[in-house]
Symmetry: C2
Subunit: 432 residues, 2 copies
């Protein structure tokens, strides 16, 4: 065909093997981080400073290190904030409880453990908190509990808390270093790639459906382009897209992704893509229905339908490519004219002279097929518009970055403060 | 309407508030478990036995306690097995490394940390392992690392490992007790409820779509039964269903769920339901298309279509109810006859005398609507069959329980062994 698709099966295989390579890379990175943090035990001068608290650094690395940089940062910050809040509140309660006698002390501690534990657990079940701060709430409960109960026993509780915090900070620093500076694996890149590749996959699916429909019965064993599995994968991708967007929000400004990049727009485009794939699955069901007419009757509408299929695949492929490259190409007018000519071709098929000649039940099936194709064309039009507004929003965002920049800087400042605090406290501890 | 639907909006609200009540209950249970495990610190005789290792019990409770009993058990067993494997392997390497001099010792420890850490991390990324044993692999890395590096320092490493294991066992026992014996929240119940309620929701959606389609323009502001949000929720439910089925597999035999209950069947029914909801969304799109004819023309097909809609909603509702009650009612023949009469009604509409009179583009839209209804009827037929085979499989399973029973018993035995080992070691430790 003259319209070469930007996505082919071989490129999908390339993506798959690339993904495997990234898995191996990630495993190696985790290994490096573990060895680095184990040095706290292995090197005598370091061990003399931190002692058995080095355990907390190892624990932090094992628990925090995730596949993408955003997830690692998010978990690390959650852990830091949860530890600070839980530790602070725990110290407060422990000091208050210290004023009274032994029995009331135990009662106060028990009650506070129950109340804060139950309240924080309830918060973890609220969807909006669960999405981004689930881990932080868990660490809050853990730290609060540990601090408040050991406050009964340890006299130097502040000292203990400081030591643990600093070792956790060391673990976090090792994670951030290995995750962000050695071949970083950005969630934002992955979301970008996954959304833009879906366009091409759906285009191939549509083309494959039509090819199969118009194939003569004797050429059965031919290889079909694309299959329904891709469509189903797109349909089921909501939760993975959402978690990637969540992680991407934690990631700092890097590469082509500017400050406060509109990740929500990606999710909206993903929703439209899912609707499109639901329609494609319906189309496939319609084409495989036993009510469809014989192949000779099908051939009367073959030419315009195949043209529409090719145009659809081309448009989807181009939209995907332009999202991938973050360009405004293909020109809006070109896409619009393609869509217009597809609509004309379809209304031509729908004329009574074509469909009227066909038998009753079979005509129904074919009419439904043409109608679903029309619906798909409409959805692609919506997609093209969504993409356009997304691009505009992005540019508006870029023009109007001042507020966003300030916001981002404030976030970065708080993060830096936290990391700095942990870092300084660990340095202080290491000076004899 | 004479066919009262088993699901109404008010019952959905009841489910919602029931869910909230379960959230509160879960929070209270976590609070109780935390207080119980804090007693290790608060009561002097207990503290004298376990000492600062009580920390590990608190950590276990905070980390393991999940919303459903199955998730708690799964995480607990993962933690237990991961700790045992990691600890055992760590001891082995530490003892081996102890034979050589100080520097080679550090090299051996560092290399083994890197190799085992990277290998286990790669395993965590394999989808089939990730699904059920992700947490276990993480705990394996953590324990192996802690044991192997502190082996350099602690002489009494076996003693340390035994103490930690026993406190982890205590935490696990508290979790199992609170989660399984105080108002247990079974993942299997939730999956059962969620799958069976989807039938009713989709039925209401279909009815609502048809009602809206045939409504006269002047009665616009009427309340519509069900909306597309329910359909979309069903469409997006794959990941939550899968995780529930995962948790349900960890749960012991209880209530109406027998030994090796066919959870995969639920997932298959869920897939068919998702396909059905994709078709309903297409139907909705088709009905809202500007290509649809005016309401007067619509009314020519209103009566049979509404009958079909009611029958569909009735059939779906009945199927859902019978899954909910785990009965074979409604009789197969009754459902089959309903489906047959629906098909007849639809083929009546599809006759040329009805649709032939309509104008070209509008006829296409209406034909598509009727065809999609036919497709929906087909899908419901598939669902009814799936359900039937599910029921048969279940009964076959019950008749042929001997092998399954043995398998389950073996699993229970291993679990018991593990819990027993942890329990005994903690009791031994508490005897002065």
């Amino acid at each position: 065909s003259q319209y070469a698709l930007p996505f082919s099966v071989s490129s999908l295989i390339a993506i798959q093997s690339k993904y495997d390579k990234r898995k191996v890379l990630h495993s190696i990175k985790v290994g490096i981080a573990l060895v680095l943090v184990s040095l706290l035990y292995l090197l005598d001068p370091l061990y003399e400073q931190v002692g058995d608290n080095a355990m907390w650094a190892i624990m932090t690395v094992v628990v925090i290190f995730e596949f993408t940089a955003g997830a690692t940062l998010g978990k690390g910050l959650n852990r830091g904030i949860g530890t600070l809040l839980g530790g602070g509140l725990g110290c407060l309660v422990a000091i208050l409880a210290d004023e009274v006698d032994r029995v009331s002390n135990a009662v106060i501690v028990g009650t506070s453990v129950f109340l804060f534990g139950a309240a924080a657990t309830y918060c973890r079940l609220v969807p909006s908190i669960k999405r981004r701060y689930d881990y932080g709430a868990m660490i809050f409960i853990l730290t609060f509990n540990l601090v408040v109960v050991s406050g009964l026993r340890a006299d130097r509780i502040i000292e203990l808390a400081r030591q643990r915090l600093s070792t956790i900070g060391m673990g976090f620093a090792v994670c951030v270093f290995t995750s962000l500076f050695i071949f970083p694996n950005w969630a934002s890149d992955e979301l970008h790639r996954s959304i833009s590749s879906k366009f091409g996959k759906l285009g191939i699916c549509i083309e494959g459906c039509l090819e199969e429909y118009f194939r003569l019965p004797d050429e059965k064993e031919n290889q079909t382009k694309g299959n329904l599995a891709d469509c189903r994968a797109v349909l089921d991708s909501k939760s993975s897209d959402e978690s990637l967007a969540n992680f991407a929000r934690w990631e700092p400004w890097h590469g082509k992704f500017g400050i406060s990049y509109p990740w929500d727009k990606y999710l909206q485009i993903g929703d439209v893509l899912r609707e499109l794939s639901a329609t494609i699955i319906s189309l496939k069901g319609c084409l495989q229905s036993p009510r469809q007419p014989s192949s000779t009757i099908r051939h009367s509408v073959m030419e315009p339908c195949e043209t529409v299929g090719l145009y659809l695949a081309w448009t989807l492929g181009e939209l995907g490519e332009s999202i991938k490259k973050m360009e405004r190409c293909p020109p809006k007018e070109l896409v619009a004219s393609k869509l217009q000519s597809m609509k004309q071709a379809l209304s031509l098929i729908a004329s009574p002279s074509k469909l009227g000649a066909v038998d009753n039940g079979e005509g129904l099936a074919m009419a439904s097929f043409v109608f679903l194709l029309m619906e798909i064309v409409d959805k692609v039009e919506v997609l093209a518009k969504e993409k356009e507004t997304g691009k505009e929003e992005e540019e508006k965002e870029e023009a109007n970055t001042e507020r966003a920049f300030l916001l981002k800087m404030m976030k970065a400042f708080v993060t830096g403060l936290l990391i700095g605090f942990l870092g300084i406290s660990s340095v202080v501890q290491c000076i004899p």
